[in-house]
């Protein structure tokens, strides 16, 4: 192969097959991971990445295929035997107990018995050696997401792994935390530990990986040298077709009319698990996209609820539409006023999975069919009324359906999202509020969704985009702000901030005014 480092093979998987029922998640996958190599696994949602690494970590058993480690065939029947074979894994969703300390959490996961005191010194030693900065006696509930991830890494390092699997490790991190993580991973790799890095973020892969294997619908379609490729090439190989660029027309007119405002909005959390919204001020104008960046769980869900009208505010004047207070209007009334919201969760929130598309259209359209004068027709107002409109939505938005009027759960994620968007946009909203609109959607659908957002603003509508995806925020927004722990930063024009500033705000590290001063 002629690679400069680590030409010695650590793991060799041959013809891995795994199917669930009729669906085959992995088809004849071959993958070679060299010692000390950072090997990226790239693919869209559902391409089979998670299945493959779960097989490596012994969570799933392959139907057929063989795995060799150091040229010896092994059978990995459980995570326990994976660890014995030197494989460690950091999951996308951490499995830490928030009420326990770091050391206690690590103790639980250990296979062999250790003295608690020795464990603490061992953790401190590893933490120092790898610059992970984890205090073994701190409670996990007090740690940030990045710190929790480092706890998981330490947990793996305790076993002296030869291969560390990282499943989408950056999806919950700020840019600063990401660059920190990359430093750690690079040091680990240069010390001889191989890393299998799963991601669908192209830039990251080019930055960190040596080799990249691309999966598409369960098959491994290419293994490429990551240092000699481009994001465009990776994206097109991953999707299998050319990707059309977004058309963004700059319509910078000088003065724009104010559409929606939040003024000193406060909303204490209703349960112990929610985030309180604190003194939020926000303004979005017609013809503008306002991007709200932030790490998940910092109040986006709660903000969405007060914006949509699912919960009303305590004071009517906290939300204004064209300077008219609407804080007490419920979600149906706000829809009638022209405010459409698209929640983050596609199933069970924006749609009901086991109802048909026409019933799901009726879900947000029912008030349209109510007439003031006809009691009987109001009483018998049912989803039959929305049959024609639902068909039109499916057609206009190129939603591919397996049959006429299918159940919502028969549509793929991307198609379902196209329907949800189409359903809202068919109401011709003045203000459209989106939460994570392209999350988990394939690139083709994501591009078409982003284009729709741009079209809205070009048609002089006001758009709010809440997203974790910084690239998306920067690509689409005219104005940017950041939500952190229930407070919203100042709104800034997109050309006046960098991803690094936004990253700092996402981590809640710095006061924005002083930070902007530094930039100037």
């Amino acid at each position: 192969m002629g690679k400069e480092k680590g030409s010695e093979l650590l793991l060799k998987a041959t013809k891995i097959n795994k199917s669930f029922g009729d669906f085959s998640a992995n088809k004849d996958i071959d993958i070679d991971i060299a010692k000390g190599e950072i090997h990226a696994l790239l693919g869209e949602n559902g391409a089979g990445k998670s299945t493959l690494v779960k097989i490596f970590y012994g969570v799933l058993k392959p139907d057929t295929g063989s795995i060799e480690i150091n040229n010896k065939e092994v059978s990995i029947s459980s995570p326990n035997s994976a660890r014995k074979n030197g494989i460690g894994m950091v999951f996308q969703h951490f499995s830490l107990f928030p009420a326990l300390t770091v050391a206690e959490n690590i103790l639980i996961a250990l296979d062999e018995k250790v003295k608690f005191k020795d464990l603490i010194s061992e953790i401190s030693k590893l933490s120092k050696e790898w610059e992970l900065f984890v205090d073994p006696l701190k409670r996990v509930s007090e740690l940030s997401v990045g710190e929790q991830q480092r706890v998981e890494i330490i947990r793996c390092l305790m076993q002296n792994p030869k291969l560390l699997i990282m499943d989408e490790p950056t999806s919950v991190l700020t840019p600063q935390e990401i660059s920190n993580l990359f430093k750690i991973l690079k040091r680990l790799a240069s010390s001889g530990c191989s890393i299998l890095y799963i991601s669908h973020k192209l830039e990251e892969i080019i930055e960190i990986a040596d080799q990249v294997t691309i999966l598409k619908s369960g098959k491994s379609i290419a293994t490429i040298d990551a240092k000699k490729t481009t994001t465009k090439f990776l994206a097109e190989t991953m999707v299998g077709k050319e990707i059309t660029a977004l058309k963004k027309v700059n319509t910078k007119t000088s003065s724009k009319d104010i559409a929606l405002e939040l003024k000193n909005l406060n909303k204490p959390n209703e349960t112990n698990f929610g985030i309180s919204l604190k003194n939020i001020n926000l303004q979005v104008n017609y013809g503008e996209i306002l991007g709200i960046a932030g790490i998940a769980g910092n109040g986006q869900v709660e903000l969405m609820e007060v914006l949509s009208g699912e919960t009303i505010t305590d004071n009517e004047n906290e939300i204004l539409l064209e300077s008219i207070p609407i804080g007490f209007k419920d979600i149906t009334e706000r829809r009638q006023l022209g405010i459409e919201t698209i929640p983050e969760e596609r199933t069970l929130h924006a749609t009901v999975p086991n109802l048909t598309i026409s019933e799901n259209t009726f879900l947000t359209y029912f008030s349209k069919y109510n007439k003031t004068d006809n009691i009987i027709s109001n009483l018998l107002n049912n989803h039959q009324n929305s049959l024609i409109e639902s068909e039109k939505i499916l057609k206009d938005n190129d939603v591919r359906c397996p049959e006429v009027n299918p159940l919502a759960n028969q549509l793929s994620g991307g198609n379902l999202q196209k329907f949800i968007l189409g359903r809202s946009l068919a109401n011709n909203p003045k203000v459209a509020i989106f939460s994570q609109p392209t999350w988990g959607v394939d690139i083709g659908a994501a591009t078409s969704i982003r284009q729709k957002l741009l079209n809205l603003s070009q048609n002089e509508k006001a758009v709010i985009l809440i997203s974790q995806d910084l690239e998306e925020i920067f690509e689409l927004s005219d104005q940017i702000c950041v939500i952190n722990n229930g407070t919203l930063s100042k709104i800034m024009p997109v050309d006046k901030v960098t991803a690094a500033d936004v990253g700092l705000l996402m981590g809640g590290k710095l006061d924005i005014d002083s930070e902007l001063e530094i930039i100037k």
Binding site: G21, I331, H349, N354, L355, E359, T364, F366, N381, N382
Partner: protein, 359 residues
Amino acid sequence: MITFTPRDKVSKNWTIMGPALSIFFTVFFGLLIFALLGYDPLETLYQIFISPFSRIDRISDVFVKACPLIIIGIGLMLCFRANVWNIGAEGQFIMGTLLAGSFALLFPNVENKLLIFIMIFIGFVGGALWAFIPAILKTKLNVNEILVSLMLVYVAMLFIDFIVRGPLRDPMSFGFPLSKPYSDGALINKIPFPGIGYLGQLHYGVLFIVLLIPFSWLFVNKTLSGFKINVLGAAPKAARFAGFKQNAITITVLLISGGLAGVAGVIEVSANIGQLQPEVSFGYGFTAIIVAFLGRLNPVGILFAGIIIATVKLGADNAQMSMGIPKVVTGLFEGILLFFLLTGETLQKYKIKWSKVKK
């Protein structure tokens, strides 16, 4: 290891095979158990399944027995569709009966049948009020409705016991805990058929089902309110997103189901008993939970489920009377029947795979 995977589509074979296998296994195990216990197995099966349909008056008794089960089952259907777990229909049945009965006893000499219609209305209010307690506790204080509604059953049982032993006891009842008999206006008559006379206990109250089934079908399938209930049960967040008021729906379904349980009580007592006594229900409120689920929370299904359960109950009575088979044995058979009915349904919905576990 056994794994269940949902079928993409309900398989045509299994829609026939499922029920057929359920019946086969029920009969097979029924025969086995009765034979092992020393009863004539074929005779027992005949008593349980066939004898309730052997004479036209017995058939009408099946409907009489099924009547309260179906009425309560329809109310519970609304609750369960909305994911509101009203387990206390028994208590609502009792309180509806008690309130309406107390009202009837204020008019000892009324012959006008208007009285029974007023009683049905009062029975609805009584049952609904009893269900309002879990409703308000759930919506205001987030108290689990299962516990509250269930515990209120025992409160209601003891309360009616106290009332008929105390304030409402008939002085002429020779010490029995019974109220005075209802006046004629408070009774539901049997239906006379010209040339035949009465068909068993068949009474006008059964006609209520004839109205209730199509009306409730229309309600759950063709109205906005029915849609709201379905959405709330399937996806509470989607209901919020649609702008449906969760608390209002929760209170409404509890009031309707409590009310219907009360109505069932009034009809049952006015048609078959004619006075208040400590035991008015015989577990109808609990059995109706099974009826509602066996009928797959669907009005027509509940009609058939009510008839099936009533048949087996009456058949068990017949077997006890004619063959001396104890209630526990026929109860065991009921259990076998339910087990296989539910298994058959599961087989329709899921594929089952057996795989060997490798160590």
